[in-house]
Amino acid sequence: MDVRFASAVSWPSPCAMACTAALGLLAALAPAHAAGTGDSSNSGGGFQPTPISATPDRQAGLAAFAQMERVLLHPRCLNCHVPNAPLQGDFSLVHYPPVQRGADGKGVAPLQCATCHSTANSPLPHAPPGLDTDGRPGWHMPPEHMKMSWIGLKGAALCKVLREPETNGKRSLAMLEQHMVTDHLVAWGWQPGPGRTLPPLDKTAFDEQVRAWIRNGAPCDATEPLRRSIGTTKADATREVVDHLRALAANNDHTASRSQP
């Protein structure tokens, strides 16, 4: 979302009031927007991203990614990181009943993900998995405009799709780590309900490999420059946006009051 208003525009005062009200709303919504896509974690300010080491080791980073890849390509993750409709089950078959992704990744009304995927896994085998996001069914895919599809990719190609903001939902490395380590839809992969295979690393080990990869410059191949910065976390990004908008609003008020006789 582009928050750069043209500051040269002078705002009439009713507009300024509306603007300030909108800012409040924006501040509340900003975490979702700043991330670029709906994120299903209850992100607070508690998350501390892993900084890049002063002496990053490319080989260690590549080895860490190779471990991450084993999880990323497991059906528990892969089934929703696809270009069209989701896949299903340990054998990544076409999802049955037939469903569509939908613009927001939550299906096409009236047959949305939440129609069958409820707030919790069922104890019955082959029932659809579920999880709870703020009391509502939280199952979804990445949206149409940011598919985050990586089926058919591996190695450097997979790594880059995951790492680059253009393909990963506009996430910095800090936000990416936050997603993989704290997002509860990601975490579902390790609590998938009866009869579903688990990813080849346990969650703690996976998180460790994520950190190791980032710490070592998040390398994807043998030659590209290592990353130097992890960027901002969601919380920080939100703060920046809100501050910026407040500054804008303050300017406009000042302008408006000056225009009164």
């Binding site: 049955y96 009943p97 009236p110 939440a114 129609t115 069958c116 707030t119 069922s122 659809p128």
Partner: protein, 152 residues
């Protein structure tokens, strides 16, 4: 105790929170219009509306709908879309055994609420998650189109 609204009326049940809405309706409250077909949300016989969204009651824990509004087949005829759908169903003699039809009607109402002018492809996409072993799909399709026309 878990409180929710059922067909517009307040309701309270004292059951374990993981009890699916389907069994609260059928066994606790004796409302058997919503049917059990598969238990794993793949047939649609248990379809209800929760806060206006189509949901499968067999996998929805009752504790997750605390404070929400559940609408079942018994009351779906209370609004103009539900009524149009039911009339179309009767006009086309859609039903055979009838067991899937509560779910089919709930799905059709959800479709027409979201999309008042569904194309054939829209109807196929929206209704293909509701199974019918008698094979009434041909008449379901015609009835949905007819209901859409009646509502236009």
């Amino acid at each position: 105790m878990i409180s929710f609204r059922l067909n517009g009326q307040p309701q309270q049940v004292d059951v374990p929170g993981d009890t699916p809405v389907l069994w609260v309706l059928r066994d606790t409250l004796g409302m058997t219009g919503t049917k059990f077909g598969c238990g794993i949300a793949v047939c649609g016989a248990c379809t209800v509306h929760i806060d206006g969204q189509q949901r499968r009651a067999c996998v929805t824990p009752i504790e997750s709908v605390a404070g929400q509004q559940i609408t079942t087949i018994e009351a779906v005829g209370g609004d103009r879309i539900g009524q149009a759908v039911q009339e179309a169903w009767v006009k086309h003699d859609v039903v055979q055994c009838g067991y899937c039809q509560s779910g089919q009607i709930m799905a059709a109402v959800a479709l027409l609420s979201a999309n008042p002018k569904p194309s054939d492809a829209d109807i196929d996409a929206a209704m293909s998650a509701n199974l019918c072993r008698c094979g009434t799909y041909v008449r379901i399709h015609a009835a949905v189109k007819d209901a859409a026309l009646a509502l236009a």
